[in-house]
Each structure stands twice: as structure tokens, then as C-alpha cells.
């Protein structure tokens, strides 16, 4: 563990992170930024698994995991943070073990609870970057809103069947989720995740891009995926980028906001699939 006062790396750590330190954009200075970073994964499932493992490998100092579920056999097709022997165990505990087995430098905070309007701001306040790895629209909108009120950058992700999407949201600077999608779709019109299905590897592709975006934000390098939706079509192996911009009529971050505090909206089990 690096000494917290001076943040000097041990010889072992210099070895572990040498391929980062070699990069001019990272170097020892950047690696120290990573070591001091606190990243929150909302959902320790499909997207949270690859994001968590790569961020752990990268040497992120603190990773927070929020998830109220236990590992189910049907998760294992894509949620690589969890192994067969973890079925029935809390995801946050299983996730913490894998992260620390990969890299004992990482401190892991476990929140074995559901994200709500009541706990979101307090938890988000502790972190530098928030990663959305949840499976329902109610939670996705809640995360977007909480990041706005807590003023935290958000890396949003979604996967469905053979399609995935990533975008980065810097509150008050770039388009938020509500600027594009005003509110969750009507519950009756969306299929459930179980009905829709998802090709497991897609979680790896999208979750790994989310981890990349989070590291770029921590390092302050490159061009963030803001004001752009990056859509991936696994069947065609094709990425498409759709430009979006801040919406002056946005109920959250527009010129005359009507959403002025966090709220829990509707049925938390509202489905995840919405493509006709």
C-alpha cells in the first residue's frame, strides 16, 4: 500500500503499474492520481464486473460497490466478477473479494442496499466518478439526477440484446440523460431484461469503455465521451456516434428546471428493453 502522506510507490507497485507509468500521459504523477481516485460502481453486475476488474487492475485507490442482490446462476453468463461458487452470496461481497484478489492495493466500500433518493447524494458525495451499471430506467434516471445534484461526473452505460451504449455526462457542462430522454419510458411498453436477453460479451465491451472513460476523467487526459452517445452494434461490429447537446428545456439542467430535488420515480422493476 502506498504511503498516504507522501504517496510514494513501493518497488513492487512501480513494477505492477510500470506499463502505465511508461505512458507519457500517465507517468508516476498520473498513477498517483489513479491511486488517490475514488470510483463508485452502481451495480456490481454485467457492466460493473469488467469496469470493477479493470479499475482494480489499474490501481484505483477506492472502489465503491452498490448492489442489494445476491449472485444468481443466470448472472454468470456475463457478470465475470462472480464465480460459480458465489451463487447465493451478496454481489458486493463477491465483488470485493475478486477485486482485492486482483489488486490488494484497492480499498473496497460495500453498500449492500438499493440506490434511493434517500441515500444517493450521501454516497455519491464520497466519490470522484460514478459509473452506471444498473438494469432499469428508474435507477438510471435517479443516478443521472443524483450526479447533477452532487456535481459528479457520470459514465452511463446500457446493454440490450446485441446493442450497447456509452456516454459521459459532466453535469452543467454537457448534455445529461434527461436532456435526451426526458423520463423513463412507460412501464407497460418495455419488455423486462429477462424477456429481452443480452449477449454476455457485450457487458465486457461496454463496461470496459466505461472504465476507460473513468480513468480519462481521473487523469484529465484525452477527449471525454461527452455530448456524444456511442452506440455499439455487436452483430455488425460497428460503432456509431450520435451528437447530442444540452437541452435548454431539460427539466433537470435546463434554463428553467422543474426538478429541484431527488425523487424516487415509479416502479423500480420497470423493464430494461425498449427497442421495438
Amino acid at each position: 500500500m502506498a504511503d498516504n502522506k507522501t504517496m510514494e510507490f513501493t518497488e513492487e507497485q512501480i513494477n505492477r503499474y510500470s506499463r502505465h507509468i511508461l505512458l507519457p500521459e500517465v507517468g508516476g504523477k498520473g498513477q498517483k492520481k489513479i491511486a488517490k481516485a475514488k470510483i463508485l460502481l452502481v451495480g456490481a453486475g454485467g457492466l460493473g464486473s469488467p469496469a470493477g476488474l479493470y479499475l482494480a487492475a489499474a490501481g484505483v485507490g477506492t472502489i465503491g460497490l452498490i448492489d442489494s442482490d445476491v449472485v444468481d446462476l443466470t448472472n454468470l453468463q456475463r457478470q465475470i466478477l462472480h464465480h460459480t461458487s458465489d451463487v447465493g452470496r451478496p454481489k458486493v461481497l463477491s465483488g470485493k473479494e475478486k477485486i482485492q484478489a486482483l489488486n490488494p492495493d484497492v480499498a473496497v466500500n460495500m453498500y449492500e442496499e438499493r440506490l434511493t433518493a434517500g441515500n444517493a447524494l450521501k454516497i455519491f458525495g464520497e466519490y470522484d466518478v460514478i459509473i452506471d451499471g444498473v438494469d432499469n430506467f428508474t435507477a438510471k434516471f435517479l443516478i443521472n439526477d443524483a450526479c447533477y445534484f452532487a456535481d459528479k461526473p457520470l459514465v452511463h452505460g446500457g446493454i440490450l440484446r446485441f446493442d450497447g451504449r456509452v456516454t459521459t455526462i459532466v453535469p452543467k457542462k454537457s448534455a445529461c440523460y434527461r436532456c435526451v430522454f426526458k423520463k423513463p419510458p412507460p412501464a407497460g411498453l418495455v419488455a423486462s431484461c429477462q424477456e429481452a436477453g443480452v449477449i454476455g460479451v457485450l457487458a465486457g465491451i461496454i463496461g470496459t469503455i466505461q472504465a476507460t472513460e473513468a480513468l480519462k476523467l481521473i487523469l484529465g487526459i484525452g477527449r471525454p465521451l461527452t455530448d456524444r452517445l456511442l452506440d455499439f452494434d455487436a452483430k455488425k461490429t460497428q460503432f456509431r456516434e450520435i451528437k447530442v447537446k444540452r437541452n435548454p428545456d431539460c427539466a433537470l439542467c435546463g434554463d428553467h428546471p422543474t426538478i429541484t430535488e431527488l425523487f424516487d420515480d415509479g416502479d423500480p422493476f420497470a423493464g430494461c428493453a425498449a427497442r421495438p
Partner: protein, 66 residues
């Protein structure tokens, strides 16, 4: 006339964004629509006329993650 729908050139009859949604059997509540990089409010779908060369993006909700 020709427009681009999600990056793909398509020949359409003309009409409004809502007409195009109907032809494609897309429920308006299930999609966010951009025309030439500008978001179209759902209330304006029926009054927004499409013209030759317009670039239309239908952005579907993508909610999974677990």
C-alpha cells in the same frame, strides 16, 4: 425524397416526423428524436416537416446493465 435515418439513406414520401414514426411502427413514447442534430420535443413530432437531406436519429432507450 431522401433522408438519412440513423445514418442510413432512405427514400420516403415526405411528411412529418410523426408520419415517419408511424410508417416504421415506432411508438413515439419509446424514442427520442433528433433531426439535423437538434432534439425534437415529443409535442412537436406532428408539426415537424421533414425535408430532403434531413438527418433523422431515432434514439431508443437502452436500459440494461446487469
Amino acid at each position: 425524397m431522401q433522408v438519412k435515418v440513423n445514418g442510413k439513406a432512405e427514400e420516403i414520401q415526405g411528411g412529418t416526423v410523426l408520419d415517419l414514426l408511424k410508417i416504421k411502427k415506432i411508438e413515439p413514447q419509446m424514442v427520442a428524436v433528433e433531426v439535423n442534430d437538434k432534439m425534437i420535443d415529443r409535442d412537436h413530432l406532428a408539426t415537424t416537416q421533414l425535408t430532403e437531406g434531413d438527418q433523422v436519429e431515432f434514439l431508443f432507450y437502452m436500459g440494461g446493465g446487469r
